[in-house]
């Protein structure tokens, strides 16, 4: 399959600040690709260059075979965009909003189908201003989907959601993926990247510090932690060879007639890997 997005050596500065330094990655057609990183790492800048909102200072970018810098109408016909912060006209109803956007595309999806897909069927005739925050976010997604896009950009689609709303959003994104839609997702939630993305790129200070499947990223680290208590005191052993380490610990304990109290063996989570990659202060606070 051809690549939906090809980015190489992408550079962007705002004044003295280098927002992106030689960022390169590819997104295959049909793939869910996650851009993960703390606030200010360059996620939104990357996405907005690909959406055609910002000009790049250097490097190459191709989106569905087009240079997004030229932002041709033909490209905008084939992408859907959910911005981090944007509003829709508060005075139109959910259905009218979808219908208005559908009118901009040559081959739109059925409006009612989209409303159902994003779970707003009960709010079909409600004015946008009466929707809750989560419902507005779903409306954003619906409007991005109404043009029947091949590629959807989701910039922090679940920020500010309660856990139930997040799971519902995840289900929608999975449903979208099942339809064959390519998705570029930015998030600072690790579990979101782990749950949804086929591959993840971790951004820090405008650079990609790691790229791969969530499993690969965890595998890369290779360190397993063994924890137990000896006389009530916590003992932690970090090892790259857990089989041998466990064997040694248990053999020793059995020989002494001791128990390894509260024995736990931990594979690193994506979160451990992530925190290691982006540094201490980057717990995704917001």
């Amino acid at each position: 399959m051809p690549s939906a997005i090809v980015v190489s050596e992408l550079r962007k500065s705002y004044g003295q600040v280098e927002a992106l330094r030689r960022v390169s990655f590819e997104v295959a057609a049909g793939e869910v690709f996650g851009l993960l990183g703390p606030n200010g790492a360059g996620k939104t800048t990357t996405v907005e260059i690909l959406e055609g909102y910002r000009a790049r200072d250097g490097g190459e970018a191709m989106v569905l075979g087009h240079d997004p810098g030229a932002a041709p109408a033909e490209l905008r016909e084939r992408i859907g965009v959910v911005l981090q912060q944007s509003e829709l006209s508060p005075l139109l109803s959910v259905r009218e909003t979808h219908a208005m956007f559908a009118g901009y595309y040559a081959d739109p999806r059925d409006v009612d189908e989209v409303i159902e897909l994003v779970g707003l069927d009960e709010k079909r005739d409600a004015r946008v201003k009466s929707l809750s925050g989560g419902q507005k976010r779903r409306l954003d997604l619906g409007v991005a989907l109404v043009g029947n896009p091949e590629l959807v950009f989701l910039d922090e689609p679940t920020t500010g959601f309660d856990p139930a709303a997040r799971r519902a959003a995840w289900d929608m994104i999975r449903a979208l993926r099942a339809l064959g839609t390519t998705i570029l997702l930015t998030t600072h939630y690790l579990d979101e990247a782990q749950q949804l993305a086929d591959r993840v790129a971790v951004l820090r200070d405008g650079e990609i510090v790691r790229i791969g499947t969530p499993a690969e990223l965890i595998g890369d680290s290779g360190v397993t932690e063994i924890r137990f208590r000896r006389n009530g005191e916590l003992v932690r052993v970090e090892t790259t060879d857990p089989t041998r380490a466990l064997n040694e610990l248990t053999t020793e304990a059995l020989a002494d007639g001791r128990m390894l109290e509260q024995l736990e063996v931990h594979r690193p989570t994506l979160e451990d890997v992530y925190l290691e990659l982006v540094g201490e202060d980057a717990g995704g606070d917001e």
Partner: protein
């Protein structure tokens, strides 16, 4: 063309659902006419006062609808990210802006009909002596003040401040230009100020076609000044207007 009509339909729907816009832009000039028409005496400079005021309020209506309404709407939409969102769709920028402009023209045309009806039935005012010229003047007013509205939207940064800024411009301008009554007794400084503003010339043009049955092109100098103001506003817009929110 289909997209243009599609967008025009939604622009009109949004406008009429917005109570603030409908009152501030549509009702207010009618209300002012009703008030002033009841207060002023028989004649102003030998012409029935209700006629002079009607002409003046066409001018005020054009400024409020096209300049004020457009500037406020565009700034609010830009700062809310509505314009940014639209830029990611295939809707061409010129189609969108043309739809917004035609929607403004529709609103002002309806307001003009309402003013005529109020004047004719309520105050026994005269009807336009040159109907075609009057229709042309409505289009001219919307085009010119819309140009200024686009320019103002490019310069005003905040959606909180835009209403205030727009009114600080429109109300004194309308007052000085004779929208609310004769200005012949005003101090020379104020009259000189009015002589630079586009509204006094626009009111002169409406005056010519409406009361004297002149052609729209009878006063080329006034026409040129009104057009020049619109073009100047548009030039500012072309240089400075952006689709992205300014404040974030």
């Amino acid at each position: 063309m289909t997209t243009l009509l599609h967008q025009l339909r939604f622009e009109q729907r949004i406008f009429w659902r917005s109570r603030e816009a409908a009152v501030f832009i549509f009702i207010f000039p009618l209300l002012l006419y009703a008030l002033l028409g009841s207060v002023y005496g028989d004649e102003i400079g030998g012409v029935p006062a209700v006629d002079v005021l009607l002409v003046g309020l066409f001018g005020y209506g054009a400024a409020t609808t096209a300049f004020g309404g457009l500037a406020i709407m565009l700034v609010i939409r830009r700062e809310a990210g509505i314009l940014k969102r639209l830029r990611s769709t295939p809707l061409p920028a010129h189609v969108y802006l043309l739809a917004v402009l035609l929607s403004t023209l529709t609103t002002f045309a309806l307001q003009s009909v309402a003013l005529l009806a109020l004047g004719g039935f309520g105050f026994d005012a005269s009807m336009p002596a040159n109907w075609l010229g009057f229709a042309g003047a409505i289009v001219l007013g919307v085009a010119s003040f819309a140009g200024l509205g686009f320019g103002a939207a490019a310069l005003i940064r905040s959606s909180e401040g835009v209403s205030a800024v727009v009114n600080v411009v429109i109300l004194p301008m309308a007052f000085l230009s004779g929208s609310f009554g004769p200005t012949s007794d005003f101090p020379a400084v104020l009259q000189a100020l009015a002589d630079v503003l586009p509204l006094s010339y626009f009111i002169d043009i409406v005056n010519g076609v409406y009361l004297d049955g002149e052609s729209l092109f009878a006063d080329p100098a006034a026409l040129a000044i009104v057009i020049a103001w619109g073009v100047a506003g548009l030039a500012v817009a072309l240089r400075r207007f952006g689709w992205m929110p300014r404040e974030r």
